[in-house]
């Protein structure tokens, strides 16, 4: 399960609206315990894929290191990532899967339709190795509500 407060949840969705028609991306900081990734804050990241920003995202490793350091100073870990799918469903794509390497982390995807955030889904990257990894849908708990995905259909 992904636990996130309403303002943080909305911040991710709003980011996707702001960057439309390009994909947004960012990092979720928080704590991971058992089957729960609890997000305390999100950090916006730049999308280095300026060549194809409408359907690709990439976060520079240096930026990840900076965000990881920033989290460590607050006692927080990287527990996941978020990005948007402009005018596409909030489902993981083959590219999302191929480029996912943070086992145990949550990958949040928000569908942004004509500039408005719609469905938001989260997928946990499970497995123990690259060869056995898989995405599993996980419920999102926003300010105490449990739902497999929030936002207007």
């Amino acid at each position: 399960m992904l636990k996130v407060s309403d303002p943080v949840y909305e911040a991710m969705r709003q980011h996707g609206e702001e960057t439309y028609p390009h994909e947004c991306c960012g990092v979720m900081l928080g704590r991971s315990e058992d089957a729960v990734n609890a997000v305390t804050e999100v950090v916006r990241a730049g999308n280095t894929r300026t060549d194809s920003a409408h359907n690709r995202y990439h976060i520079a490793p240096q930026e990840l290191i900076r965000i990881q350091r920033q989290g460590r100073e607050k006692g927080l870990d990287i527990v996941g990532f978020y990005h948007s799918h402009p005018d596409h469903p909030a489902q993981w794509s083959p590219t999302d899967f191929a480029e996912a390497h943070w086992l145990g982390c949550s990958y949040v995807i928000t569908a942004v339709e004509k500039g408005a955030a719609r469905q938001t889904n989260s997928f946990r990257l499970t497995g123990h190795t690259e060869e056995t990894k898989k995405f599993e849908p996980e419920p999102i708990s926003v300010t105490g509500q449990n739902t497999p995905g929030l936002g207007p259909e």
Partner: protein
């Protein structure tokens, strides 16, 4: 020197986010890490012993792949290494849908 461990790999370092190792080069430091925690090996390297393409190793703020001496670069005790798996993705290309190959376009 200190090696910072990313969240997914802490399961192999007894949940430590940083590990102290000894070494005079980047390669020696990484070797010390995999000696100490053997399960790390398969996550960092391919079967041929090459660093996996999606694993980034940074010496302080420099990508080791682009340092003139690569992993033979000398290190000091106060240096830090960061292991950072890459993060990327994105929705399908328009053509993917035509072939029915894209999960994100599945209705």
């Amino acid at each position: 020197m200190k090696i910072f461990i990313p969240t997914p790999l802490r399961v192999y370092t007894e949940k430590q986010d940083a590990v102290e190792v000894a070494g005079t080069t980047v390669a020696e430091a990484l070797s010390a890490l995999t000696m100490k925690y053997p399960d790390f090996q398969k996550h960092l390297y391919t079967g041929e012993g090459k660093l996996r393409s999606f694993v980034n190793v940074y010496l302080n703020d420099e990508d080791v792949r682009y340092l003139p001496e690569g992993d033979k670069t000398p290190v000091k005790d106060q240096d830090t290494l960061s292991i950072i798996p890459s993060i990327a993705g994105g929705c399908c290309r328009t053509g993917d849908r035509a072939f029915g190959a894209c999960c994100c376009c599945r209705d």
